[in-house]
Amino acid sequence: MIRSEILKEIAPILNPHLVVCNIGLPSQELHMIDDNERNFYMLGTMGLSSSIGFGLALAQDKPVISIDGDGSVLTNLGTLPTIANNATGNYTLLIIDNGSYGSTGDQPTYAGMKTNLTDVARACGCDNVIEVQDKDLGPVLQGAIDSDEMTIIVCKCDSGNIKLPVITLDPVVIRHRFMEAVKA
């Protein structure tokens, strides 16, 4: 499965919850599949989906899912020790690991070579790290959201993209409606 197929499959699981989605194609795909005010689309700043989602999870009690990619996590690898050492049970980090920088033309990442992000997350001190194959993600994600324990999911999948337009929503609109959803 490629990322857009995974997002289509897990969209009903994500729908009731606050989701911070990675820059580029992941946000565009989620926007196309199930646009709603509980989605925060990153239009810039590669690498910070995990940090934004984690800050949000620390600041309030609702479940938060950060959708990240292997390339983005490699960009902001320092996030994993911060998350590990300040764990909060309402946070789930979903790393879609397709071994490539999808939004920029599928150049290979080191996560698709010798670097194992599951091992990295564990070595950083994350207690609850689950590696899962794409087709098995749904129940694992639901379990992570339902559990009181913070979970890092590394979802292995194929690399590949679909063609779709950029998000033209104004960033302040995205932020405002998201904050209203946080308060609701």
Partner: protein, 168 residues
């Protein structure tokens, strides 16, 4: 006046309850003070752009955030400031140790100091420079201004403000 306590008092009085820090020798006292306060959740970051991401999330979660860091971080965070904090119009007080200014003992620090105000000006970030201890009296107003305007705001605090590095 204890400026570490005054800064922490003003942060608490302005309901700033989520603070991330990347350490600097000059900031050790204020970081320690922030860590002590029950009204503040203190979360150290590994890098300043990561910290700004945490602050963005905390703000959307209903908390007033702040970041404490060195001026070298301006070189690290320009993209984050422009495409996250400014693009989505979020407030962020940045309490910055202004290394490489008067009374600085480390020559390399001067190399970023000479760019600091120019970079902040280029980003249209409101910038205040604390050089004398009495300048801290403005801090409360700067915090109010930051959360009124929904912008990142820089407070540069140099070695003279912090009392220097002792005899050199």
């Amino acid at each position: 006046m204890n400026i570490d306590k005054k800064i922490a008092d003003d942060l608490v009085a302005n309901d700033v309850s989520f603070i991330t820090t990347v350490p600097c020798k000059q900031l050790a006292g204020v970081i320690e003070e922030v860590e002590k306060r029950d009204d503040i959740f203190h979360i150290p970051s590994n890098k300043e752009d990561e910290g700004m991401g945490l602050c963005a999330g905390a703000f959307m979660g209903g908390k007033r955030p702040a970041i404490i860091m060195q001026n070298t971080a301006i070189g690290v965070t320009i993209n984050t400031l422009a495409t996250l904090t400014q693009f989505y119009r979020m407030p962020l007080p940045m309490i910055i140790s202004y290394r490489g200014e008067l009374r600085e003992p480390v020559a390399c620090q001067v190399e970023m100091a000479v760019h600091t105000k120019a970079l902040l000006a280029q980003l249209n970030i409101p910038t205040y420079h604390f050089h004398w201890q009495k300048d801290v009296e403005e801090f409360d107003n700067i915090l109010k201004y930051t959360f009124m305007s929904n912008k990142p705001v820089a407070i540069l605090t140099d070695a003279n403000f912090w009392g220097g590095y002792g005899d050199q």
